[in-house]
């Protein structure tokens, strides 16, 4: 753990005289050192004391773990401070705390994945995936999420159709044409602002827009969801494509110009193919991000019991909104359990979709990544 632990100089008896010297605040290779397995020993010690103490007090497992953790921190620090000095004691304390944050951060992730898989897994039957909810909401059982999966694909697809060309060409403008012009600076700033737009605000924007366009006081349209998601997607696409285009070495562009190739063909045939892996990765990650968005869709897309393939008319069901609205059903005295199953099943499908997109993005990024020198 600490750098000196593995050092060959073990304290031997001849060095004892140096250890006696009143130098409490120095680190010397002659000062004492904890044994190599000190951390492990302290863990066992703390776990034992914590378990015994916890059982005597009659505490639950969570309290026992917390108690053992506190004992571990105190014991290791005290032991190290006595043997190795205050500075090393602090170092060990910080080391233990830094790794603790890692454990604390990973626990929720594991708990979340575990819960979704164990609760949602049994629900995923072919019926659940191939049926919609027409008539089933009142019936209590049966039904599925086919319409919600299709709705998510459609709305996300619309968003991608709007956001990808705009995002990619904006990035091309920023890198290839705009250079350091005032307009390019302004666009960069506005893209930064867009990155910070809360998802619910993009939903409100879509609503305001379509109230004005359609005149309907409460518009519910698939295309509105596409616009709202595109607003969230554009900044991510611009950012990632811009980063990738900047990585393309100028030598390539200049070589192409020198051969008399026009600028646009240089961009299409030289710059974009060089950066294609990074661009595809960035776009896929952007799609993954908006596929799980709920808030804007809740406002503008609404909820519908069967598949609606017309984005210009009527509400469309999407997976995230299905999860959110089905939650109301879980308190139903009669069919609550069935609704709970549906919610977890839909959550598992949503996670699978998003994680698959992430995985695809990583694989593309790894396979086609340009070989760098290092």
């Amino acid at each position: 753990m600490t750098r000196n632990t593995g050092a060959p100089e073990a304290p031997d008896s001849t060095d004892a005289a140096y250890t006696e010297l009143p130098m409490p605040d120095t680190l010397s290779i002659h000062s004492g050192q904890l044994p190599r397995q000190a951390t492990l020993m302290t863990v066992v010690f703390a776990a034992a004391i914590g378990a015994v103490g916890g059982l005597i007090l009659g505490a639950g497992p969570t309290v026992i773990v917390l108690l053992a953790w506190a004992i571990f921190l105190v014991a290791l620090t005290t032991w190290s401070t006595i043997v190795e000095g205050r500075r090393k004691g602090t170092d060990r304390l910080v080391n233990a705390m830094v790794w603790s944050t890692f454990v604390i951060a990973m626990l929720p992730l594991l708990s979340l994945l575990w819960t979704v898989i164990t609760k949602g897994g049994p629900v995923l039957t072919p019926d659940f995936l191939s049926r919609d909810m027409t008539g089933f909401a009142a019936l209590g059982q049966g039904g599925g999420i086919y319409h919600a999966i299709m709705g998510t694909i459609m709305v996300t697809g619309i968003a991608a159709i709007i956001a990808i060309p705009v995002g990619v060409f904006t990035a091309i403008y920023l890198v290839e044409y705009g250079a350091a012009s005032r307009l390019a600076k302004m666009i960069t700033f506005l893209v930064d602002v867009m990155t910070g737009i809360p998802s619910i605000v993009s939903g409100l924007f879509a609503i305001s827009l379509f109230i004005v366009i359609t005149g309907d006081p409460l518009p519910r349209l698939g295309i509105g969801g596409g616009v709202a998601l595109a607003l969230l997607m554009i900044p991510t696409v611009v950012r990632s494509v811009e980063e990738m285009l900047k990585l393309v070495p100028d030598d390539l562009r200049e070589a192409s110009y020198a051969l008399g190739v026009p600028k646009w063909r240089t961009i299409v045939k030289v710059v974009l193919p060089t950066a294609v892996a990074g661009i595809v990765t960035g776009i896929t990650l952007a799609i993954a991000r908006v596929a799980g968005e709920t808030a804007p869709l809740l406002l503008i897309v609404g909820t519908f019991p069967s598949a609606n393939w017309n984005p210009f008319d009527g509400a469309v069901q999407t997976l995230p909104v299905y999860i959110y609205t089905s939650l109301n059903g879980t308190t139903d005295p009669k069919y609550g359990d069935i609704w709970t199953d549906r919610v977890w099943g839909a959550a598992l499908v949503l996670i699978i979709i998003v994680m698959a997109l992430n995985l695809i993005a990583r694989i593309i990024g790894n396979i086609f990544a340009p070989k760098t020198g290092r």
Partner: protein
């Protein structure tokens, strides 16, 4: 573009040919498309401001029924702003030490073979949709926290933070979920910043006999200070706008209560969660009130994000 200076219409072929690059249709088209895309981005954002203003400003005179029972629109937005900021600040207080620790694990503590998988795990956390986070917070986390809340309420209710009747779907639960959702972003930013510390600074500190923690305190933190503040502000901006987790976890559905208590059933509500919970049965002027609240949220996140970016660039310029 080099236009012809010579106005002679009778001899266009006498113009200096090598000075005039051939204008190609493809080039013109391509640069125009790129320019228009850039302008669309500007238009999009201008549209956000314009349409929110068009639909939000009619709410200025709202009171009573249309302001959801509050005497004025300002009171309505103020109550929600209080809840929004309070929940996000708690979340940031939780997330800051966690993110610093986690980023240090990735950048300095973990051996290289472990740092990469850990980075992937953090990215995985970022990929979990917010509605699933909300579901988990409601169904798994909240019941787990209830005993702790009961204990706090029994032993620490003299602190205003832990006053009131206990409810597991309280502001603190919502803030913990918010913190988990902000964690990947803050960690990703921090680890970039920590990794940028010049290797020479670190090695100099170690060569002078510093322990690892002293090296981080002496070399890494001073170098990363402005970046750390920026990362935390950007995480705050993210937490302010987060909707679903709060909407699902928090028990409050109205404008909420003006209370400091984090664990009671009487919670303040946040702007985003309020809109998500109340949109379905809103109509007419109430929608205007909601859009007005959304406008306030937009301005708030804009200010916080802008401050974050400003600090980040200022830190970069300083070197």
């Amino acid at each position: 573009m080099s236009t012809m200076v010579d106005p002679g219409p009778e001899a266009p072929e006498t113009a200096p040919q090598q000075a005039k690059p051939p204008t190609r249709l493809g080039d013109v088209l391509f640069s125009k498309i790129s320019l228009v895309s850039g302008l669309i981005v500007i238009l999009f954002l201008a549209g956000v401001g314009t349409f929110l203003l068009i639909q939000g400003l009619p709410a200025l005179g709202a009171s009573g029924e249309t302001a959801y029972g509050e005497p004025s629109i300002w009171k309505f937005v103020g109550m929600l702003l209080y809840g929004t900021i309070y929940a996000s600040v708690i979340a940031i207080v939780i997330v800051t030490p966690l993110a610093i620790g986690l980023a240090l694990v990735i950048s300095h503590y973990a051996p290289r073979s472990l740092a990469k998988p850990v980075g992937y795990l953090v990215d995985l956390l970022a990929a979990v949709p917010s509605v699933v986070f909300g579901l988990w917070g409601l169904e798994v986390l909240a019941p787990q926290l209830l005993p702790a809340y009961k204990w706090l309420s029994e032993h620490a209710s003299w602190i205003p933070l832990f006053d009131g009747s206990v409810n597991s779907r309280s502001l603190l639960t919502a803030s913990i979920v918010l913190a988990l959702m902000a964690l990947p972003i803050v960690t990703a930013l921090l680890r970039e910043i920590f990794a940028q510390t010049p290797r020479a600074h670190e090695e100099a500190a170690l060569a002078l006999g510093a322990t690892r923690w002293e090296m981080i305190r002496l070399a890494v933190f001073p170098y990363a200070r402005s970046g750390m503040v920026a990362a935390i502000l950007l995480g705050l901006g993210r937490a302010l706008g987060e909707t679903m987790a709060v909407a699902m976890v928090l028990s409050a559905t109205g404008t909420g209560y003006l209370t400091l208590s984090m664990i009671s059933a009487e919670n303040p509500n946040t702007i985003a969660a309020f809109i998500a919970n109340n949109y379905a049965n809103a109509s007419g002027a109430k929608i205007n009130s909601m859009i007005f609240a959304g406008l306030a949220l937009f301005l708030l996140t804009f200010v916080v994000n802008f401050a974050g970016r400003w600090i980040a660039t200022r830190g970069q310029n300083k070197g």
